[in-house]
C-alpha cells in the first residue's frame, strides 16, 4: 500500500515533468533485468505518451553472436566437455544449438562449476564465458586462481559503456537519455560512464519498480533542462569507485579488444580477451576460433530489437512460430531476452 503510494507519487512527478516537454523523449536502458521490472510491473503503461522507455542491448546472451555459439557447439562435437549457462544452452544457431548437439554439454551456474568439472575430468573442458562486467570478474577469479590445465575459456564477455557510446554516436535510434545497468555498475562504478554522461543524461538505477521510475524522472528532468550528467540512483549497491577487487581481477585477466555483437557491427574495445599470461587457457589454444560471419535466422528481428529499433511485437514470429518452448532467436531463450520477458510477463502474444 505504502509502496503503491510511493509509485503514484513518482509517476505524478514524471507526468508533470513530461508536460513541460513539447516533444517525444526516448530513454534507453541497457539491462535485461530492467526490462523484466518494466514489463512485469507494466511500467510503460504508467508513463506519459511522449515518454518512450526503450530496451537496448542489455541481454548478454542475446548479444553473443551465432559464431561464438557455433564454436562451442563444434568443440562439443569434437569431444570437448562444454560448460555453458542455461540461458546459452538452448539458443539456436544455423549450426544447431548446444542442447541438441552431439556432444557432452553441461549446464553450469557459475564459472567455479566449470572449473570443478575440469578438475574431475580427464578430457579438455571449454567454458563458454558469456556476460557483461558483472560476470567477467567471476571468470577472472577462476582464471587467476591457478585453474586446471585442461580448462579452456572462450571469452564472449562484453563491455557496456562501449556499446552505449556506439549507440549515441550512431544515432540510428534517437536516444535522449540512458538508464545505466545496476549490477554492471556495482562492478564498474561511476567513472566509465563519464564520457557518455557528457553527451547525454545517464542515471544508474536499481531493479525495483521505484528505482526505474525514479531514474525515468531524473532523466526527464535533465532532458527538459537541456542538461547532461550522471546521477546514481542505486547508491545502495553502487559505490562511485565500483568493486575494486572485481575490477582488479578483470584487469589482470583480460584486455579489451574490438568485437562484433549480435545485431551490431564490430564495436571498438567492447570485448574482453584473455591476457597473454593466461593464453594457455584461451580457447584458441585448443583450436577454437569463432567465425563471426555466421548469420542468424533471417526472419528473426533480434538484431533490430537489440538496437532499440523494434519491439518483440513487431516480429511476425513472436508468440506464433517463436515461443520459449520453440525459440527461433536468442531474445526468446534468455531470461533477460526482451522477447522472452514480453511473452512470459507481458500477457503473452
Amino acid at each position: 500500500m505504502e509502496r503503491r503510494r510511493m509509485v503514484e507519487r513518482i509517476v505524478r512527478r514524471i507526468h508533470r515533468e513530461a508536460e513541460k516537454l513539447d516533444r517525444e523523449v526516448s530513454i534507453m536502458h541497457v539491462c535485461g533485468s530492467h526490462e523484466r521490472t518494466v514489463v512485469e510491473h507494466g511500467l510503460r503503461s504508467l508513463l506519459p505518451e511522449n515518454v518512450r522507455l526503450v530496451c537496448g542491448p542489455g541481454c548478454p546472451v542475446c548479444v553473443t553472436t551465432a559464431g561464438e555459439l557455433a564454436a562451442a557447439i563444434e568443440a562439443a562435437e569434437d569431444g570437448m566437455v562444454v560448460c555453458a549457462f542455461g540461458d546459452v544452452y538452448r539458443v539456436p544457431t544455423p549450426r544447431g544449438s548446444l542442447s541438441s548437439c552431439d556432444g557432452d554439454v553441461r549446464v553450469v551456474q557459475s564459472a567455479r562449476q566449470a572449473e570443478q568439472i575440469a578438475e574431475s575430468e580427464d578430457r579438455d573442458v571449454l567454458y563458454l564465458a558469456v556476460g557483461f562486467e558483472t560476470t567477467a570478474p567471476t571468470t577472472a577469479a577462476v582464471l587467476l586462481d591457478d585453474p586446471p590445465s585442461n580448462l579452456y575459456v572462450l571469452s564472449a564477455h562484453r563491455l557496456i559503456p562501449p556499446v552505449m557510446e556506439w549507440l549515441l554516436e550512431q544515432g540510428e535510434c534517437e536516444i535522449d537519455a540512458f538508464i545505466c545497468p545496476g549490477h554492471v555498475s556495482t562492478i564498474i562504478g561511476e567513472r566509465p560512464y563519464e564520457p557518455i554522461a557528457e553527451r547525454a543524461p545517464c542515471v544508474i538505477a536499481g531493479f525495483e519498480p521505484e528505482d526505474v521510475l525514479i531514474a525515468v524522472l531524473a532523466c526527464l528532468r535533465m532532458v527538459r533542462r537541456g542538461e547532461t550528467g550522471l546521477v546514481n540512483e542505486y547508491t545502495r549497491a553502487v559505490r562511485p569507485e565500483g568493486n575494486r577487487v572485481a575490477l582488479r581481477a578483470m584487469e589482470r585477466a583480460f584486455e579489451p579488444e574490438d568485437r562484433p555483437w549480435r545485431g551490431f557491427p564490430t564495436i571498438p574495445e567492447s570485448g574482453l580477451a584473455l591476457r597473454e599470461e593466461l593464453s594457455e587457457h584461451d580457447a584458441s589454444e585448443a583450436g577454437i576460433e569463432p567465425d563471426f560471419s555466421i548469420g542468424a535466422h533471417e526472419r528473426c528481428i533480434c538484431d533490430r530489437i537489440l538496437r532499440g529499433l523494434a519491439t518483440p511485437e513487431d516480429c511476425p514470429l513472436f508468440g506464433r512460430e517463436c515461443t520459449p518452448t520453440n525459440p527461433v532467436g536468442p531474445c526468446m531463450v534468455s531470461e533477460e531476452g526482451p522477447c522472452f520477458i514480453k511473452y512470459r510477463f507481458g500477457g503473452g502474444a
Binding site: E2, R3, M6, I10, R12, R13, R16, G32, S33, T37, P60, V61, F85, D87, Q109, S110, A111, R112, Q113, G131, T134, T135, P137, T138, A141, D145, G182, H183, T186, I187, V203, G206, F207, E208, E210, D211, I214, L217, A218, R221, M222, R225, V231, N232, E233, T235, R236, A237, V238, R239, N243, R244, V245, A246, A249, E335, E336
Partner: protein
C-alpha cells in the same frame, strides 16, 4: 543469470558462503569482496557475491525510497526550486 534480490550470509568458510535468499539457500563464492562476515547482506551474480548492502538497504523499505528520492532530487536541484 542476474539475481536482483539481495541475500544474507548465514555461514562462511574461507571464500565459500551459504547465502539465504528469503528461505532459499545457495552456496556463493565471496572472493570478489573484502571483509565479508556472517550476517552481511550481499548481491549475488552467477554464484559470486559482487557487493555488500546494509540490512536497511537490502530491505528497500519506504524510508529507503524516501531517501533515494531525496538524494536524486538533491542531485538534480542546483538552482531550481523543487516543484513536486
Amino acid at each position: 543469470m542476474c539475481l536482483a534480490i539481495p541475500g544474507k550470509i548465514v555461514e562462511l568458510q574461507g571464500d565459500r558462503a551459504i547465502v539465504d535468499f528469503g528461505g532459499v539457500k545457495q552456496e556463493v563464492d565471496v572472493s570478489l569482496l573484502e571483509d565479508v562476515k556472517e550476517g552481511d547482506w550481499v548481491i549475488v551474480h552467477t554464484g559470486f557475491a559482487i557487493q555488500k548492502l546494509s540490512e536497511e538497504e537490502a530491505k528497500a523499505s519506504l524510508e529507503v525510497w524516501e531517501e533515494v528520492l531525496k538524494h536524486v532530487e538533491e542531485e538534480l536541484k542546483h538552482g531550481e526550486a523543487e516543484d513536486g
